[in-house]
Symmetry: D3
Subunit: 337 residues, 6 copies
């Protein structure tokens, strides 16, 4: 486990003596014709640019071998270039086995406790009453798939884009769907919760996240919606007597969960459960996205972020009301109990 201050906590001139993950790495020439390496270095809290000049100790030994995904040990300090933070490198070396660091230590990660989240997920799955759906979920979430499922981010950017982000996002949606089922007994609770658990499941094959978040060829050619539908279809076909109508309804939930054709759903929501899942997904995703953008993208000295094209606006951090102590001391560690 890493024992070093987080990048996001450093300010200009702070000294750096850190292991960092190489996220971009390009050999370039200065206008004067000298070689340097343009880097992006990060830990789980943030990433910054850094130029590795050829007169820095260690330059020669790594310049031909360094690749994205490597971990390096840097000394230097926090600096600034054109208003953006930048790392000034004074020495660099590749990490060694004895350093006992892995790329996963440097990826952003859900702030919620993974063990708690796994328990919540499994416990909620146990409460599914319909035996066909419960058995199907147990088959789909085999050990190998579950391992990926609890790690994968919900996306490369925008919302829940960190390790275990998909699990965190899914638990929020389940919580919202359960509330809607409390309000509307007409919604099939088992079905909509099962749909919530599976809706973004295809991301385990659409995205790779080791050492950096990236879309796979399969992900770009098929998309996570169809990948999930095909896996679920496969597992159902292995199950004798799974009801045809239930199968179509469940697949419909997965296929329609992005709500509109232009958002890449091949069908729009046509059932009560489908509209519930789509809107719950939107609620969880948008609130998380705004929260993260406002936390990370405020312009210096301003309550406003830059223009965020995915939202079509800049965002405002009014910072106005502190939630009074007593009312809000929610035990946020578990959503279910």
């Amino acid at each position: 486990m890493l024992n070093q201050s987080e990048l996001s906590s450093l300010i200009k001139s702070d000294p750096i003596d850190h292991f960092l993950l190489v996220k971009k790495c390009e050999l370039r020439l200065t206008k004067g014709g000298k070689e340097f390496i343009s880097l992006e270095l990060g830990d789980k809290s943030n990433s910054f640019a850094a130029n590795l000049w050829e007169d820095v100790a260690g330059f020669k030994s790594i310049k031909n071998s360094l690749v994205v995904g490597d971990i390096v040990r840097i000394t230097g300090s926090m600096d600034e270039y054109q208003g953006n933070p930048q790392i000034k490198i004074e020495s660099i070396r590749l990490s060694k086995q004895s350093d006992n660091v892995t790329p996963k230590d440097f990826l952003p990660r859900s702030l919620r406790d993974l063990t708690v989240m796994k328990k919540e997920f499994i416990s909620r799955l146990e409460k599914i009453a319909n035996p066909d759906l419960k058995s199907l979920l147990q088959n789909i979430f085999s050990d190998e798939r579950f391992e990926k499922y609890i790690s994968v981010p919900a996306g490369k950017m925008w919302h829940h884009s960190y390790i275990s982000g998909l699990l965190e996002h899914t638990l929020e949606i389940i919580k919202i769907c359960d509330l809607m089922c409390d309000i509307h007994p007409e919604i099939s609770r088992d079905l909509v919760v099962c749909g919530a658990m599976l809706h973004d499941f295809g991301k385990i094959e659409e995205l790779s996240y080791d050492p950096v978040f990236e879309y796979t060829d399969k992900g770009k050619l098929l998309g996570h919606i169809v990948i999930a539908a095909m896996i679920v279809n496969d597992e159902i076909n292995k199950t004798p007597d799974f009801p045809e109508n239930l199968k179509n309804n469940l697949l419909h939930l997965i296929l329609s969960h992005q709500g509109k054709l232009e958002y890449a759903s091949p069908v729009v929501p046509k059932t009560l459960e489908a509209i519930t899942l789509y809107q719950a997904d939107e609620l969880s995703a948008k609130v998380n996205a705004y929260k993260n953008v406002i936390a990370n993208e405020l312009k210096p000295g301003s309550n406003w972020t830059k223009f965020i094209s995915l939202a079509g606006t800049d965002m405002y951090s009014g910072g106005l009301l502190k939630n009074p102590g007593n009312e809000n001391n929610i035990d946020n560690k578990t959503l279910f109990d």
Copy 2:
């Protein structure tokens, strides 16, 4: 109180001896040149067409005076015309004072208990901790305005389009927003709940609902969003020392709650509370709308509704999973506590 079976429970050939509200009323000519009155008659459960032929008892005495909003007593039977239910009238008379019926008895109405909903609303308002917001809400929800607020439908069609629909809708949104505040302590709970209470408040002047739901001139020229913003602005201006920043944030919630310019919000959500309110509103509205459409618009003998243009699709009533008895016996009477 009316003691008669609901229209929606009647089937073809059932006899009718009912008080009904006149919702449309046009004097016409048959091709043969005879006068008849084309009516739409309804109770709170449904409305049907009916033709009043000139040889029906009572035709002459009412033909020149009958207007929308009158209540009539009908005898006759349920019939059908071109696949749609229709009322066959055998006699008709205007209601008298001694009948003790008012148009309100015939308007669709929230299925939730109004007293309970009022209590929930007031109780949640009491929990607002910020004194500026709490005091503002108490001023806005004066007795006269509150009386309208608890009656008005959330819309003329589509979702929560029945008496007390706005109150029911608002309570759902509050419930959803409170859940999102549990998950995200960064959201200002008082602010977003206050925004939820006020977001559609302008509908008390945008809509009239007695005797039928209709938009007012003011409503069509200004829209409920700006009406609400102006009332809230007025009340804040009367309050000494209401913080300017809090005022702008609260007005922003009202103005942006429809989420997109093309949905008639003059600004898009730019704060964490605004995106939460918008998405919570969508979730409550869409699920209610789908539920009502599926309940009321299935094609005869089909699991599909007709094409619903507001949703851009037809809808499916799979009717597949019954929610098992024990799990779902939620005390739906109160959403809070």
Copy 3:
């Protein structure tokens, strides 16, 4: 086999003594309160409205049993109502077994010879050189599926919307794709032809066409694109050592063939083969659609059709140049050889 003139060849006042398929059937009341049945009756050439009055011979014996898909024997004549052709019924009876007629005799049907089209398809399949693709196609086009495949229309309306329409449409696309492969050797011929054969294959489960064209529940909930992808995925999973990359490319062809997200493709074309297939599909579909609309929907006495909303325009039948005899005497019976 039916031996009667086609409906489309009849003009006003022509006598009718025909077997016809019941395509719509509703029991209604006249304003005077008498029962009649509003029908749509058709053969493979066209369909017209007809009212069955209660004084017509045969009315009573069938009024409670007649359903869509029945075949009836009608005497009467061609008439007109409000400018539209209508059938005037003088007598009616249900078809009997001894009449030896089936609904299929009354469905519109491709004008090309089915035997020839089957041969063309099989012969083209035989020419696929890649063994994985060829073997996959042979597995997918099992006898049972092939039987459906050669019958299903390409759609309910718009283009190739007749029995064997999908096969006719597919052969055109193959022909176009082969031409594009002649021009561009960079296109993988086997892959694009295989994609063409499978692209709309899911319609065998999306549509039912016996006795009338209709979408199935599965078709409306999943769509033919995903249905096809799931079947192909299943068959590939049964095949040992089918190359992963080839699988993803083939599935991409199916998924992207409608070209745009808003046309219900969950991914847009990203390969040379995918863009070729999408544009070939468009070319075949649009030309067929325009041809049929211009042939069938001209306003009486005009060279213009009514406004066609799927095309966003009315269409013009200039009828200007006759293709000179010699140049055009193409043996249209076979597209391949």
Copy 4:
């Protein structure tokens, strides 16, 4: 008053000895690690980039204190960098009180005479015949508000984006509306002119323009349309017996004047006056915008501007016909008389 040549009149190599306004100001590092300040300096005619190197006289004394809005005295010359004009600084100092310069001297400003424009506005207001509207306008245009109103630009960019731009723009719209009233007596002249005067009035709170044009927090959260509506609503509420219908019509003019929901109007124009105001606004704005773009953004040596994204095109300065002397010698100083 400044007595120096305008920036826009200078060409490459011209010497500079000017007071200029600091519009941007960032301390940066060269690749070699030396500090410099990246500036944007402007007068009312134009603004250019300038780099202040650390060896320039005055660098040290100002590097830690210089902020946007300061006025500096520069010596140096006009230069060019990558095809764009740039100021080469040889010496710099902060302005002193004795220099007798203020930021307002450096802001772009309407070319029309402010005194004349004020007279035109007041004179036109005096001609309003309806006493309710006239009195309302007099109350709204209190001295303090009028002072802002005659200074504020109509926007940050695009059209009339200079000091007194809103007043100039408003007078044009009034002129156009009066012409439309001459043509169509059905238009309520008092109402539409009152709407024209108030339509963009909210910009006095939406925009700040001292020392640079910027949107305020309130402006971004509420928008000038709702700000204006709330002020007008306030003033009307203070007026006894202001007709309700007139109020709604006037507010409708303000709310709908951007013409479409997607242009941020919460209602579309629904009255004859509203459509007149919207189209007059468009005409005034677009012509001014094109004129300014063509005057300022031609590519060097070309009759074409670069691509202008707000217009969706590049623009052409054909420069073809000179308006002949006599016909066009309009006394442009006053639009009214």
Copy 5:
């Protein structure tokens, strides 16, 4: 000249003894099987439906010959059917030569005096200073073309859709453009006025208006924009030494005057004159359209029209402020002088 009251002035039960133009004419059957003719009859003020029953005097003599464009003499009275005015026919006969009536007497017609409008147009043309443009206009507006030009409506529906509507519309645009030239000397006055005169000129071949307004084949296949461009191009090609740049600028005005590609302009406005013409055209068209809709389409007993799809809204006739007598007594007979 007709000497009879206008249809629009008649109310229910008023007797009718009028010549009227046949605008639609269809022979139909009643449900009982009797023939009748469904008519639309109109004069220049309005048009109404009428059913001609077979027992009306004159039915037999005209039933096989009556066509659109005929003039008939009707006796009867104003009636109503389903809330819409309808003409009840008691007798009918075809007009005779001795009646001295022509279809033109029955077409809606500009309310402005045609002689005055012609003078205004010619007088404005005379003021064009540029000899190339002036000479071009004189060649284009040859006697034959000018005759059509002063008659043609500006459209089939929506705005200025009456005889001489194009001329009235063009004069308004010229007036607006001249105002904009007064404000902005940078606009080439001759060019923009020339563009205004020619912009919709192609409508003389796009529309036929005798006896009813209809699009021609050429109009539907080419559109009035390209028709005008081709005529102007032809005339310029006949003129020696017409400047190439002036030609392109003038053609650009015609081609871009609908402002956006999706409004069928093949290029968007790229010059100052083009944006002026487009926005002036919009202003003239929209105000005229709203005025006519509000005058003609109010729902009975309401200040609101039905929903107008071309405007995307219903419209409100607030009818609030009467323009005070003195201020508005504009001599509307001439726009110029």
Copy 6:
């Protein structure tokens, strides 16, 4: 004729001793204040950036005279800057007459043999049976115009954007249209082929391509569609007795060939020939565009291109199936016979 290796075949460090065309040329300053020239240099295979530093031999003699379209002789080597190839210049001189090189030698050019393509075009023209169309084509393709026609690219970017690209593109469309005529005898073969030949013909005046591809003023103000329509209209007007209906149909083909208003066609396709031509054009253009992008824009070491905004996606070069030798050995030199 040039005898030097193609730029696209060179890799990093390869020596360069080439004639190259100057495609961009800007005199700039380094941060240190030294002059250099930023160049883009290309041959027909590709173009790269190059910086000409002031210490390079030849700098002084050319720095004030070098312009776009010049040919220079360079020595140096292939280098790289920020991941992009760049030319490192060691010496430079202007080409001399004795070098015998012209800019045309350096423009990208169709890979098909121009003589063959010309023959194909002329031979296909000869087969037009309709004498009016054939004669028209012969008049339009006069020697001077034909010379331009066979050289002009089909566009500045995207598809067939090389010398003779329009001819290559047109031949593909003809081939596709002929296939569609084989399938559908209802299509008028002569008309659609004539439309194919003329549809983009206006590009000979819309584009200049010597020495670089650029839009002309006329092209930007009128567009190639209207330019073509005007030329064709002119030629038809010179032809006695050309049928009016045929003229309108042919012009319609040209005007509608971009298929949608928003793609700058002033009318949408309304005839069978027009829809055929539009879709054939799309097929030819899109497949060519994808092919070129995939060939030229793959990211280094990846099977994916960068994001291509005209396609709205990145593209994949699966490179999976090699077309087997025998099947595909199409003699691609001629498309016809």
